[in-house]
């Protein structure tokens, strides 16, 4: 009997991979379609400068937040603290590097630690105290909204003009004509992909999201791994905070509202808020879709009130196309 199955198995395995590819293709297709549309609709849209220096650069922060949040969402959780987390980590970077005038490397490290701590506390509240992720991270969001102003001098920003090395983290170009911010985003994406697909951490992330109790009964320390997941997400907040500060200086209101956009990017990328499913590639594509839409509509000179409306409708359509393809892909293969 098993012999009888082998050929089937072969076939099955294939169609399975095919489906995976198709899914990502679908999301990707959505991105292509939108890009193509704007390329045709406006002659200012499709040029290296706009694509890289405008769209990519403007996508970096949401993208990096989305990467970290992908892990959280795959476990079935959610993280609302990432938006204002940028404000807090950014202001801390300012405090370390400007106010305290610490050496660059140390300052960056400490900033990432602060990010990690934000995540650690989230993880502790969720995993050990058993709080609903929504509440735990909402509370952290409020804390991250208040503390930066406390740190700041009456809500004033901190600037890094005397620290070009730091500013170069965003504006510099290790690769000619290719802003470091984008480079860092890509590196983060690769690392995230690796973590999710090649490590125990990634496997347990999926397992927890797909059935937490079963995972626990399989002898995996779910509590521990959940804390790690949120902490990793926190480190990504730190990275985003550093880039934000390096780009425009540390502002106590930086990152406001970015949590929704980042989560949207993740979900547009095909990751399920119910947990258990998700891809890094999808998240990157999701972030790009948002970036392209924002930029494209403005380049076309659409009145802003209509930009909101169209953005909403297009997101719907993009996700819908994606889903239809998945369905057909699943139905077929």
């Amino acid at each position: 009997m098993s012999t009888a199955e082998v050929p089937v198995a072969a076939r099955r395995g294939m169609s399975d991979n095919v489906r995976m590819r198709l899914q990502q293709l679908a999301a990707f297709a959505g991105l292509i379609v939108i890009t193509a549309f704007f390329a045709v609709a406006s002659d200012h849209f499709f040029n290296y400068d706009n694509l890289v220096n405008n769209i990519l650069v403007s996508t970096v922060q949401i993208g990096i937040l989305a990467l970290g949040t992908t892990f959280v969402i795959i476990t079935g959780g959610i993280d609302l603290s990432i938006g204002f987390g940028i404000a807090l980590t950014g202001m801390m970077a300012g405090t370390f590097l400007i106010t305290w005038d610490l050496p660059l490397g140390l300052g960056l490290l400490l900033t990432l630690v602060v990010g990690g701590l934000i995540g650690l506390v989230n993880g502790f509240n969720i995993s050990i105290l058993g709080m609903p992720p929504f509440i735990a991270t909402l509370a952290m969001m409020l804390v991250c909204q208040g503390l930066p102003i406390v740190i700041s001098d009456n809500g004033a920003s901190i600037y890094f003009d005397d620290l070009p090395a730091f500013q170069d983290l965003s504006g510099g170009t290790l690769i000619p004509n290719f802003p470091n911010a984008v480079l860092i985003f890509l590196v983060c994406a690769v690392i995230a992909w690796f973590l999710l697909n090649r490590t125990l951490f990634g496997r347990y992330t999926f397992a927890i999201g797909s059935n937490e109790e079963a995972t626990a009964l399989s002898g995996i320390n779910v509590k521990k791994w959940k804390i790690i997941v949120y902490t990793v997400a926190g480190v990504f907040i730190g990275i985003a905070g550093i880039i934000s500060a390096a780009r425009i200086g540390a502002s106590p209101s930086a990152g406001k509202g970015m949590e929704l956009q980042a989560i949207a990017a993740v979900v547009i990328g095909g990751t399920s808020l119910a947990g258990g499913k998700g891809t890094i590639v999808g998240t990157v594509i999701g972030a790009l879709i948002i970036g392209v839409l924002n930029n494209g509509l403005q380049v076309m000179g659409v009145p802003q009130e209509w930009q909101y409306v169209i953005l909403g409708v297009v997101i719907l359509i993009a996700v819908y196309i994606d889903m239809v393809r998945k369905k057909s892909a699943t139905a077929a293969g």
Binding site: S58, S152, D161, S244, I248, G249, P252, K256, Q298
Partner: protein, 365 residues
């Protein structure tokens, strides 16, 4: 919603059509200089504000000499001016947009007008500015949420020989050819001055500010606080509260402030949304005799002022600002000289002068 420092005010200056609006802008500068005299003599509280600002923000219609180095007059018959403002959703910005559109129609230019959803969205605004640049505009009008942060992008504009006209609040950079601005701090100080007069230089005053971290919020808070500290030490200022320019939230804040300070003598509201909220909050609290000093202009505030619920308000001239941005841009394109600053002024208005044509011209609903 932090939008708009001078936030939320309106739009349908449509009433006075572009013709009147044009003369408005003329009025403004004039009004600025002559009332300067006025206020020097006696701090008469009619259109005095303008003078202070004139004083504050340096000579108004002064040296008209700024010209793009190596300027070549445009040949375009319909030049394109990209305007990136500080806000969008609030009436004030819609009024600026209105003025810009009117002027553009007159001068035969095309414009685009974008602004971030909230005045703390520094980065989204910079993304908009960069995007605007890629559209190869002939001139750029820009109201910086964070002037330092925008410096690098403005440099790009300079390199591309695109004249930049700053508006609303100064960009501390020499790139903009001119700044069509009003001085928020001075305007707030003017508000403080009137508040002090209204409450007889003593008593408790609450502050409902529209934004804790945006420049306009900070200036309109500090301008008010600093003036009081210096000139009316007996006035007790409460911890400022921030309503995000949202009328409902501001109303709730106001009621909490009144509940906590039954002896409150006055409340200062730093923008349109805040003012509407404060008026509503005071009404709902049923308290009488609280002096409300507001900011910006709208049907609601004018009604409140006429009915006496609100003592008065500082208004700036968003329609005028919008017109100035386009007018200045056109001048720049024609390589005509521009002054360092074009003071669009601000005005105190209350029951007594609300119908004075000079004021009526800069009020909008």
């Amino acid at each position: 919603s932090k939008a708009s420092d001078n936030a939320t005010d309106t739009s349908s200056a449509a009433a006075e059509t572009s013709a009147t609006a044009a003369e408005t802008s003329a009025e403004t500068t004039a009004g600025a200089s002559d009332s300067a005299a006025a206020s020097d003599s006696a701090g008469a509280s009619d259109s005095a504000g303008a003078s202070d600002s004139a004083g504050a923000s340096g000579s108004a219609a002064a040296s008209g000499s700024n010209v793009e180095p190596g300027c070549v007059p445009t040949t375009k018959e319909k030049p394109y001016i990209a305007i990136v403002s500080k806000g969008f959703q609030h009436q004030f910005w819609q009024a600026v947009k209105k003025g810009a559109e009117q002027e553009a129609a007159k001068e035969g230019a095309t414009i685009s007008f974008d602004g971030p959803a909230s005045e703390s969205d520094v980065q989204p605004q910079l993304d908009m500015l960069k995007t605007a640049l890629t559209k190869k505009p002939d001139a750029i009008g820009f109201a910086a949420l964070d002037s330092k942060a925008s410096e690098p992008i403005l440099k790009q504009a300079q390199e591309q020989k695109i004249p930049v006209i700053a508006f609303d609040s100064g960009v501390d950079s020499d790139i903009p050819l001119t700044t069509a601005a009003t001085d928020n701090k001075a305007a707030a100080a003017e508000a403080a001055k009137h508040m002090a007069e209204l409450i007889g230089n003593k008593g408790t005053v609450g502050l409902v500010i529209h934004d804790q971290t945006s420049l306009s919020g900070i200036d309109r808070r500090d301008g008010f606080v600093e003036w009081m500290k210096e000139n009316a030490p007996d006035v007790k200022l409460l911890e400022p509260q921030y309503g995000g320019g949202d009328a409902t939230k501001s109303a709730d804040l106001t009621k909490a402030i009144i509940a906590a300070n039954p002896d409150i003598a006055g409340i200062y509201a730093s923008n349109e949304g805040s003012a509407i909220g404060v008026v509503k909050g005071v009404e709902e609290s049923g308290k009488k005799g609280i002096n409300i000093v507001g900011f910006d202009s709208s049907e609601a505030q004018m009604t409140a002022i006429r009915s006496g619920v609100q003592a008065g308000a500082i208004t700036q001239n968003p329609v005028g600002i919008g017109e100035q941005v386009v007018a200045a841009s056109m001048k720049a394109l024609k390589c005509e000289g521009l002054p360092d600053t074009i003071d669009t002024g601000f005005y105190w208005y209350d029951k007594t002068n609300i119908d004075d044509p000079k004021i009526a011209a800069v009020l909008y609903k």
